[in-house]
């Protein structure tokens, strides 16, 4: 298969309540795709299925064999909370996949990339929310993944930090040629970052609309084209009664 990841006709229920209904999506290498929808619409569930954290679903999940999944090296995940291990310092957290045999040089490089240069020895309790999330991003990238799964990664930080982190992710995605599946409820974020925006809605959730974002990067948050595409998404959300 040429796609990196393909979710086909996914059905998922929690305690008898159908949450996801016949959802399909696929991701090409280097592509950035957002899953947009209100809280509770199952988009995080979809991401967890893609990450392999949830195996209780109907449907088909296909991962390109290029993604060496056995060692979690094909996929990186960043959650809403940083989820750093509190007893390890930043460098050890970033290199967690390798434990003591971590690649120190690569860790230092990543810390430089995410703007945490020189902070490798710090403990998680000494970091601000934004810094901790940067460390989590570095950890996600440590395994040189081809696919990065982001689950509302910036919803717990303030708006300014959020914008900076979005720029960071866009830059790193391009530099390391990583495909990204981003779950978010933030319309601005979805359209600023993605090549395609998939809107999830209804009860149970379906993919109601797919919007292409054929804008060149780097993008301007103020651009009218972004606003108009965002407007299309809003229309869709109004129509599906999410708003």
């Amino acid at each position: 298969m040429s796609a990196l990841l393909a979710l086909q006709r996914i059905h998922k229920s929690f305690a008898g309540l159908r949450v996801l209904d016949d959802v399909s999506l696929s991701l090409a290498p280097g592509e950035i795709v957002s899953l947009l929808g209100p809280s509770g619409c199952g988009k995080s569930t979809l991401l967890r299925i893609a990450a392999g954290l949830d195996r209780d679903f109907q449907g088909h999940l296909e991962r390109n064999p290029l993604l060496d999944f056995g060692t979690a090296r094909g996929i990186g995940v960043v959650f809403q909370e940083p989820r750093l291990l509190p007893w390890l310092n930043v460098a050890q957290n970033v290199a967690f996949a390798d434990g003591r045999a971590g690649d120190e040089k690569w860790v230092r490089q990543l810390l430089r990339d995410v703007g945490l240069e020189g902070r490798g020895e710090a403990l998680p309790k000494q970091l601000s929310g934004g810094m901790a999330q940067r460390a989590a991003i570095a950890r996600g990238l440590y395994g040189r993944p081809q696919l990065l799964l982001l689950d509302e990664p910036f919803s717990a930080v303030d708006a300014f930090t959020r914008m900076r982190l979005q720029d960071l992710v866009a830059e790193l995605a391009q530099r390391y040629e990583v495909a990204i599946l981003l779950v978010t409820h933030d319309l601005d974020e979805a359209f600023y970052l993605s090549d395609r925006v998939l809107i999830l809605g209804g009860q149970p959730s379906r993919l109601t609309r797919e919007i292409d974002v054929p804008l060149a990067r780097p993008r301007d948050r103020r651009s009218g084209a972004l606003a108009s595409l965002r407007g299309q998404a809003l229309t869709e959300l109004y129509q599906s009664h999410a708003l």
Binding site: A51, G52, L53, G70, T71, A72, V77, F79, E81, R83, L85, P86, W87, L88, F96, A97, G99, L123, P124, K125
Partner: protein, 125 residues
């Protein structure tokens, strides 16, 4: 100690355990790298409790059955009406108990430097 350890294991944040799942860590590694460090605070509480219990047991045993040792000194002093012996025994016991607890506390403090909790002190790190 056992109960504290079990409490420690039960209290490990599910989110951290998920990390282990994500990285496909084998069971033993999960235990060693996530459960054990996370349960450490509880382990130390158990250790300190256990230590004081151990002291109590040692002394009680010596009171009952020893022919030497601090407990014996205590009984002997009492039986031969030597209150100074009794006093010395009590003070030494108290000192040893306090010393070993302080040592353990210092160890705990160093090992748990990473904890982001209320320390019992007002403000500051």
């Amino acid at each position: 100690m056992y109960m504290n350890l079990v409490a420690g294991i039960r209290n490990v944040d599910r989110k951290l355990v998920e990390l282990g799942e994500l990285y496909r860590l084998p069971r033993l590694q999960q235990i060693r790298r996530i459960f054990v460090p996370a349960a450490q605070p509880y382990l130390f509480t158990g250790l300190r409790n256990g230590l004081s219990m151990a002291w109590l047991c040692v002394v009680a045993a010596e009171l009952l059955a020893a022919t030497e040792g601090i407990g014996y000194l205590l009984t002997d002093g009492r039986e031969t009406s030597r209150p100074d012996l009794v006093l010395v025994a009590i003070v030494v016991l108290a000192l040893m108990g306090k010393l070993s607890d302080s040592l353990l506390k210092a160890l705990e403090h160093r090992a748990l430097r990473w904890r982001d909790n209320f320390d019992g002190e007002g403000g500051g790190a």
